[in-house]
């Protein structure tokens, strides 16, 4: 309760993400229809039988949405995990060892950062062929760089703290210093980056899928938007075909952003006083 008052956004964010995960796990029970079966007219509007209407193939949108949660969240979480792992390893190695290792790794990161992500993802996915596994790898490949940068900066500042210097001076092995002393300190930062990366991963998945680079066999929120677009749902006024998955993606991204932002705010509280403000000091008579 105190947490809720202190940081309502983070709590709401986590709550929504937990609910969605539950929905993904229980999709089989929750979904009113089989998402693969035509249960009514194409683009039938929402009604009592179908709260979110039917899509371009006459499938129940609510059921599609619930089932679509599974691969969407899976791709998001898996890609984010890989990206943060890779980025974290690169960042810790560069920041901890410094010197030429640092220069080399950061130079590679700089090149990777400057290449626009979506075009690169499109090219790789187009040449490599599409499947869920490929999507995870491609997205991870696009998103590891920012984690690497942030983690490197933090690691190299931690490394120079006196107590870490002392532990190293006592002869602790590199692995021990990193595992026992650096990682616990980096954990909040890594989780903030992970939350943000999940958001970006889901974002990238919907974008790649929209461009026809997703897995054609799987229903994700991305494919729902794609099919609605291809059958021109937006000009037929069939908003229910693309709005639910679109809103769902936005919601997840927003929640991830809130969670990551709250972790960062807790890490670096900003206490600066503004010297220029709308109102000034107050004078009260004694």
């Amino acid at each position: 309760m105190r947490l809720l008052r202190a940081n309502p956004r983070a709590v709401v964010g986590v709550a929504v993400l937990v609910l969605l995960t539950l929905a993904a796990l229980l999709a089989g029970w929750l979904a009113p229809y089989d998402p693969g079966r035509q249960v009514g007219a194409v683009f039938a509007p929402p009604g009592p039988a179908h709260p979110l209407g039917l899509d371009d193939g006459g499938h129940d949108v609510l059921s599609l949405l619930l089932y679509g949660t599974r691969p969407t969240l899976f791709i998001g979480a898996a890609a984010a995990l890989v990206a943060v792992l890779v980025g974290g390893c690169v960042g810790v190695t560069a920041g901890y060892f410094g010197g030429w290792v640092d220069t080399l790794l950061m130079r590679i990161t700089d090149y990777a950062i400057v290449i626009p992500a979506l075009p690169l993802g499109i090219v790789i996915a187009a040449v490599w062929g599409s499947s869920i596994g490929h999507l995870v790898v491609v997205i991870a490949l696009l998103l590891w760089t920012s984690t690497a940068r942030v983690v490197r900066a933090e690691t190299s500042s931690l490394r120079n703290r006196p107590y870490v210097q002392r532990i190293r001076g006592l002869g602790a092995s590199h692995l021990r210093v990193i595992g026992r002393h650096l990682l616990p300190q980096l954990a909040p930062l890594l989780s903030a980056m992970a939350a943000l990366t999940i958001a970006l991963a889901i974002f990238t998945e919907t974008a790649l899928t929209f461009l026809g680079l997703g897995d054609p066999e799987t229903v994700t929120w991305g494919t729902m938007i794609r099919f609605a677009f291809q059958r021109t749902a937006m000009t037929q006024g069939a908003w229910w075909a693309f709005a639910p998955p679109g809103v769902a993606v936005s919601l997840v991204v927003m929640c991830c952003y809130w969670v990551s932002q709250s972790i960062e705010d807790t890490l670096n509280p900003r206490l600066r006083v503004a010297h220029l403000a709308r109102e000034y000091f107050k004078v009260v008579p004694r």
């Binding site: 700089d110 090149y111 400057v114 290449i115 626009p116 992500a117 979506l118 075009p119 690169l120 499109i122 090219v123 790789i124 187009a126 040449v127 490599w128 062929g129 958001a199 974002f203 919907t206 974008a207 929209f210 461009l211 026809g212 680079l213 938007i225 609605a228 677009f229 749902a233 937006m234 000009t235 006024g237 908003w239 693309f242 709005a243 998955p245 679109g246 993606v249 936005s250 919601l251 991204v253 927003m254 952003y257 809130w258 900003r270 600066r272 006083v273 503004a274 010297h275 220029l276 403000a277 709308r278």
Partner: protein, 320 residues
Amino acid sequence: MSRTGHLIRRLLTTLVTIYVVVTLNFLLFRVLPGDAVANLSRVPGGSPELSAALRRQFGLDQPLWDQYWIYLGRLAHGDLGVSFATQEPVAGRLAEAFANTLPLITIGLLLALALGLVSGALAAWYRGGWVDRLSTNTAIAFYSVPTHFLGLLLILLLGSDLPAQGMRDEFLVDPTWGEQLADVAAHMVLPALTIALIVFGQYTLVVRSSMLETLGDDHVLTARALGAGPMRTLARHVLPNAMLPVITLVALSLGSLIGGSILVETVFSWPGVGRAMYEAVVQRDYPMLQGVFLVLTVSVVTLNLLADLLYVRLDPRVAR
């Protein structure tokens, strides 16, 4: 002296980056597990003969090193190959597409900057109040919406009032020059608005935090101590300083802006580079895809360099 040194170093890094990108562009299409030609042959109508012909046409039957030298040599002459789908030179088609994309992105970017500056500055000025909450939450909301979804929503809401497909109306009878311009402008409203809205969120958040940071700087206290009023302090001591990080931000956002334009051009059938990329993907037109990727990446790298040069010009402290 050290400023010149910095410039030369930046220029060299950019050239190296472009070289890396060029090489990457070569490797991606040849070394990745999915062989470009093998994928091609899966296209309906593909056959072993076609596949062999393609290999010969693209020189894929030669050793990798020879292919690389041929590729570099052609590139040096501005030859990006021949489109598989249309059998036309990629470079010509791309130049046309580029000319269509540039105004779209520029207008979208300017609109986003204007929106972001105003809402970010207001949020910082009224920090903690309802203006701040409204503007921050709006920014986060637009930050969270997928580009293509926003585009579809705009078509749904405004599609009956504004053209939502293509760049010009093909059925205009004997249009004057002015009518043509007005037509293109009308077609540009929705896509440019979509691009502006998806990046303005980022800009708002960064402008806000940069403003808050600057408001806490000691020299702002000095300005007030000099007797400067709030407007003068804002205009001469806060905004100019707070705008410096925004230049870097715009450079960093170029990548997502380009990515966004691919989606936007697909949604609105805008005949630009992004649309060309989408069509290349759909038709598995690899020479085209390769060309688009190269053009987009080199533009982003070059624009990054320009942003950096601008920053060096504006911030006297950069002199490493």
